[in-house]
Symmetry: C2
Subunit: 341 residues, 2 copies
């Protein structure tokens, strides 16, 4: 069932039928009703390839996710994509997802742009020395960054959470509780979000004329074992930390495991604050959640990001947009006053 057949069945021209279905004014209400009714009855829906070819708009947004050494980003990427996907579905956009090795992401974007597979693309997990935006600018395809690229905050579109200030606030909380040796288990600091978190951590110290001990700061892919083994190692130090600030719930779970493996109690003997991306499979909720955390829903970020990007593609080529999501600080069971020395 294609447009031609439908038009024949209605004894109308393709033009009229097309217009009727697309809501153009130059068709009488009466025939519009008739067209819509028979279209529905015959189960007609326009072939999307044909429509795309004719309109020049692909009605799709591309996401390229690098499958790299940093496997850890996956659950976050994926939750973001789930959020974005819902928005796309609501607006009639398709999401095309490309999963390629790190080295091929440039090529993947190029492919999308030059073959016109999508009207816009999303950039995930920007690094400090990221260059994807340059490729995309050269290709003249609209894009939005989940995160920020240092130095390009003003002229590119992005959505991000307040990584720096969230971690500064969290550190403040720990300092207020009397902790003076605080460990930071960060993500890889060549990622922009991790670099910001680290600066926030250091800022909080600096404001009190303290300096964070570099021996207590670590960075790695945010796995559970990373949390456990780091916590063990740090707690073995002559002067162990009394608190941990952790970049991911998953790593925090590892920390919590290490703490109990040593017969200590989290929240009493050792405090832990983690960032919580609100991953659906790791709820840290309830009256008083397990982990004190800075929370910002990455799924919600996905939803908003998709809206912003669709907006950007709509026929009014706008200025760059920015959206700044504030993580909330939530007190759970895992923090308490620093133990007396």
């Amino acid at each position: 069932m294609n447009l031609k057949q439908l038009a024949e069945a209605l004894s109308l021209s393709q033009t009229t039928v097309s217009r009727a279905l697309n809501g153009y004014p130059e068709v009488s209400e009466e025939t519009r009703k008739r067209v819509e009714e028979t279209a529905r009855r015959l189960g007609y829906a326009p072939n999307s390839q044909a429509r795309r070819l004719a309109t020049g708009r692909s009605m799709a947004i591309g996401h390229v996710i690098p499958v790299s050494l940093h496997e850890m980003m996956n659950p976050v990427f994926m939750e973001f994509i789930a959020g974005a996907g819902q928005t796309y579905a609501r607006f009639g956009y398709d999401m095309i997802l490309t999963v390629v090795p790190d080295a091929q992401v440039g090529a993947a974007y190029r492919e999308i742009a030059v073959r016109k597979k999508a009207d816009a693309v999303m950039i995930h997990g920007p690094r400090l020395d990221d260059h994807r935006h340059e490729i995309l600018q050269e290709l003249k395809i609209p894009f939005l960054i989940h995160g920020r690229i240092p130095g390009r905050e003003n002229d590119l579109s992005w959505i991000d959470m307040n990584n720096g200030s969230a971690f500064e606030t969290a550190t403040d909380l720990l300092l207020d509780l009397g902790h003076r040796r605080i460990a930071l288990l960060n993500g890889l600091e060549d990622m922009d979000f991790a670099a910001r978190r680290r600066r926030g951590f250091e800022r909080a110290h600096a404001h009190r004329n303290l300096t964070a001990d570099p021996a207590l700061m670590r960075q790695a892919d945010m796995t559970e074992p990373y949390g456990a083994s780091s916590a063990h190692a740090l707690l073995d130090l002559p002067e162990p930390p009394t608190a941990f600030l952790v970049s991911s719930m998953i790593t925090a779970i590892g920390v919590s495991r290490a703490i109990s493996e040593r017969g200590l109690k989290m929240g009493r003997d050792v405090s832990v604050i983690t960032h919580d991306d609100a991953l659906s499979f790791l709820p840290n909720t309830g009256d008083k959640p397990i982990f004190t955390c800075t929370r910002s829903s990455v799924r919600y970020a996905g939803e908003r990001a998709a809206e912003l990007l669709i907006d950007q593609v709509m026929p009014h080529p706008d200025k760059p947009v920015h959206e700044y999501l504030k993580a909330e600080l939530i007190i759970g069971h895992s923090t308490g006053p620093a133990p007396k020395a």
Copy 2:
């Protein structure tokens, strides 16, 4: 830069250029070289919408993932998709991902089929009373199931792991270790995989003329808190279990937390076996992994599934294909002999 312009630049017809680029034999090696070289130089790549329209093949595979109450399936879905995506990229297929509320998955599949958005689709997480395959058969679009639909094992294509026998083996291990009160923390048993796991669990008991105690079997969305609270509740019983068989690492982490919260030691006081989907962010590896587990990489399943589906779409409409993945049983630190009563 489109085909016409490229043809003009070469003083050739579109036909010849098209054929040269697509490897047809009726074009001289010499001009083929020339065409390829200038195409590369001018950065030409065929518009995919146009090509799709002309060929009638969309070179895309659709995945519809329901965002439902069962949020928990997400990390597994997503890991599967990451695997599948890599395969698609390798074969030049696009993946289009649709994220919709449970109630709209039928409509989403219909949309894909009737607008010709994809050449085939994947079914995720089949239920016992699943009907998606009927919609897809009616729409005459090839599909493959990740999992199985009961009663339709022979005439539909699927890829699945040995849920039943893996859990039977795991249960056997625990029974061999002397455990007689074994708890099962399963996923929701209206999902086919969970129903099979339960049957495997019961089969192992039956083979020794034992019956599994229904009071020790639970099912729910596989979150971390589900594991922790269930473990606490069960260990509070007058006759608590000495071992847990768990359907997901994430839930098992909750169990492990509950065990240590009670001052018990996993592997000594309480044994735990979990199924391990080999999620990239939850490595349970090493010489002797934390959890004894049945392991089957869902990412690998995704890779294979994509290959099977692409095969199915290639111009030789085949019989249904099945692939049966065997989970391996891996001994970790979390299991040991049952404590003396």
